[in-house]
Symmetry: C3
Subunit: 307 residues, 3 copies
């Protein structure tokens, strides 16, 4: 029985990127739909669940994408609403690659820092989908997260979204002038830039002076890059005593994660892969264990058994 | 050479259901087109018939679907018009599943009742695509068919459509109040409900008192069901002395029929699978023979040879 | 790794013809996009080049089609603009089959005539995409090409387009009355009709009297045919002392060429198959060598080595 991936894309032309990765990840056929709106979802999902028996439904899965993460979230909610056990199919949300990108950055940070409990994290331009998801995941790791925005209202709105979505507390700060950076970077151990492509957010001088800084991630791949001095291909190299990752350094892991998630969709018919579940898969990929703060220690016997 | 199914769907987003069943029925690739209008058909069909030689054209077929059966009928007419021997491809029409659903119901009735010649049949809400097709097929079996509608004009219009399409005579009756049911059910041996989802058309008391009734079929799968007392999964069980079928009981056979039809499309390049031809395939599936009234008796020798 | 062909079609419904030929030519999956405009191209192409590594990108290719050749040319320009080495994919342009049709006609003419240097060529209704491309290619072969049009302004515009696109000189002549044909055919050795379907452009009497004429090609497949006396299936037969080709005679070679081009796309990741490159592939198909005027003689030793 062929593995069919139903691509529901909120943009008029469904993502070529998502289709190709799906094929390379093992989907046999992608049923590709663009311009999908909330009102369309019910029938499309019912077309999935009423064609194959529950035993076979792990061979059908749903991918939700598009340029607009908020539209994607609405499609996901509608899709979940159209399922009723045992007539379920697994679903993944990754509009604009936001989930896999945010998770790839977060897991690289977790690998580098280890226990994030109480660590100060600054997420630049954290109001977008990638920044919000990274903020939520790092806050769940126990970090003290601050997101920045140019306008205070946007920051406050994003802060509320993140709190509601991830059930955590984060702070919002206004950053409309690089001169505020030294103050914002005080005590910060983790810096993540999710600002717009081609915009330098942090001049070299600003982060060189941030004494607590241990890891910095720049997700902007288009010159001028977002954090001056981090190269786009950097993957865990140390610069100025800070472990740094550039956009391609994160991107390679993101693509690997994206494929692993698509493959995972076809193993069961009841998965919902949004930020947290995707993060779990990413942690498995990098070493099979969750960061200390989220998981009780595993007795040695258990570990031995797993091997 | 891959088996290609061209899906021409009158709805904006082409049916996921039809695509998945096509793949499961053996199509290698579904070329999926939504929002197809009459004016589009000629070029799309020519794209089929001018690419492969006549000897290979049984590997290309056309599926016409969409929410609107009347739009589907127009697409079918245009598609047939665009063919010219020997440049033909097989075509099936099943907008909204109407043909396979109606046929599945009719063939279950044929199996149960046997010879339908002169038998009284009542089709509730027989003005829709499923009801019209069931009425036409049962009338061709020799039954005395009455369709009901809430408004007399709609019933009369449907009656005329059925007569023209199937070259038969059926009656239309107005049913805007359950109190009329006892009168309408007088002498009726076959009751088929093709009314809207979630609407009870027949209370239990009404059909329990219908003394001639032998088989009752309810195509409504959404509670409240259409004929009170028939369960959605009923498949030929006897209730109150009547053999009954619920929507899922018919639906399983419908899906099997749907797949068989798609597979059949790829055996020749000159099939047109509309109601009658689909009914023939369904009859083969349930036992290889047509009901007595439509077919001269086959001598024993012939039957022996066929084995 | 599957061979993926991204079909970018300027028409609302992407060509079925192009999809089927692509599958028959060896593409594993066609990612089919209709209604593609210039503004869409960049993201679609980036979806191709950022998913697979440069080493694997010969397994992804782009097909540009649609009813409108000029729209196709704009899509091609945008697509090339979105590539940057080594992140490239091979691309072919064949809107409305114009390139493969023109090339198939031209290469049949080259085969028949041999060296075209200084030969007089007349292309009837040479203002359309097929006529323009045939004119450009034959002029590059060294022929003295004249295109005809009903209106002088259209002819002049086409003449300028051809000159700019192919860097050659051609002539334009007005032909709004068959009585002008004897004068226009004077000294002409090659006659190609790319006029509209179902329009007779040349009565039999006109080309029977053209004494220099050696080859005549009619691309109109719909009766009345374009050159009276040439049958639609003619493939290099001699009529009235002239070697003639009808539309199907050319069409068979065109389809073979179309498939060869699709297959070629998947051999490298840096091809751009427009008229000239497609002509090279066609010449390989018919005998492995270019016509004398475009190629310096190859020493015997070299030829021996190639074997």
């Amino acid at each position: 029985m062929r593995k069919l991936l139903l691509q529901l894309d909120s943009s008029r032309l469904p993502s070529v990127f998502d289709q190709i990765v799906a094929y390379d990840a093992g989907a046999d056929v992608v049923l590709s739909y663009g311009g999908v709106t909330e009102g369309d979802v019910r029938d499309l999902i019912h077309g999935c669940i009423f064609t194959r028996g529950p035993k076979d439904l792990h061979n059908t899965a749903v991918w939700i994408g598009g340029n607009n993460m908020s539209a994607g979230e609405q499609l996901l909610a509608m899709a979940q609403d159209a399922l009723f056990a045992p007539f379920c199919v697994s679903i993944m949300l990754d509009s604009n690659g936001s989930n896999t990108t945010a998770v790839a950055g977060v897991v690289r940070i977790e690998e580098t820092v280890g226990d994030l409990e109480g660590k100060k994290v600054l997420i630049l331009a954290g109001t977008g989908p990638v920044g919000q998801r990274a903020a939520g995941l790092l806050a769940k790791d126990g970090a003290e997260v601050t997101i920045t925005s140019r306008k205070p209202e946007q920051g406050e709105k994003a802060r509320q979204f993140i709190s509601a979505r991830f059930n955590v507390q984060v702070e919002a700060a206004t950053l409309n002038d690089p001169s505020r950076l030294p103050e914002l970077l005080q005590g910060v151990e983790v810096l993540l830039n999710s600002g717009p492509a081609g915009v330098q957010m942090v001049p070299r001088s600003a982060w060189e002076r941030a004494e607590a800084l241990r890891v910095a991630v720049d997700l902007n791949a288009v010159p001028p890059l977002g954090i001056e001095g981090i190269e786009v291909n950097d993957t865990g190299v140390t610069r100025n005593g800070v472990v740094v990752f550039g956009a391609f350094g994160i991107g390679n892991f993101k693509t690997k994660l994206h494929k692993a998630c698509v493959a995972r969709l076809f193993t069961r018919n009841d998965l919902v892969l949004d930020a947290e579940a995707i993060a779990e898969i990413a942690r498995e990929l990098v070493g099979g264990k969750a960061p200390p703060s989220r998981k009780a220690p595993v007795p040695k016997k258990e570990l031995a058994k797993k091997k």
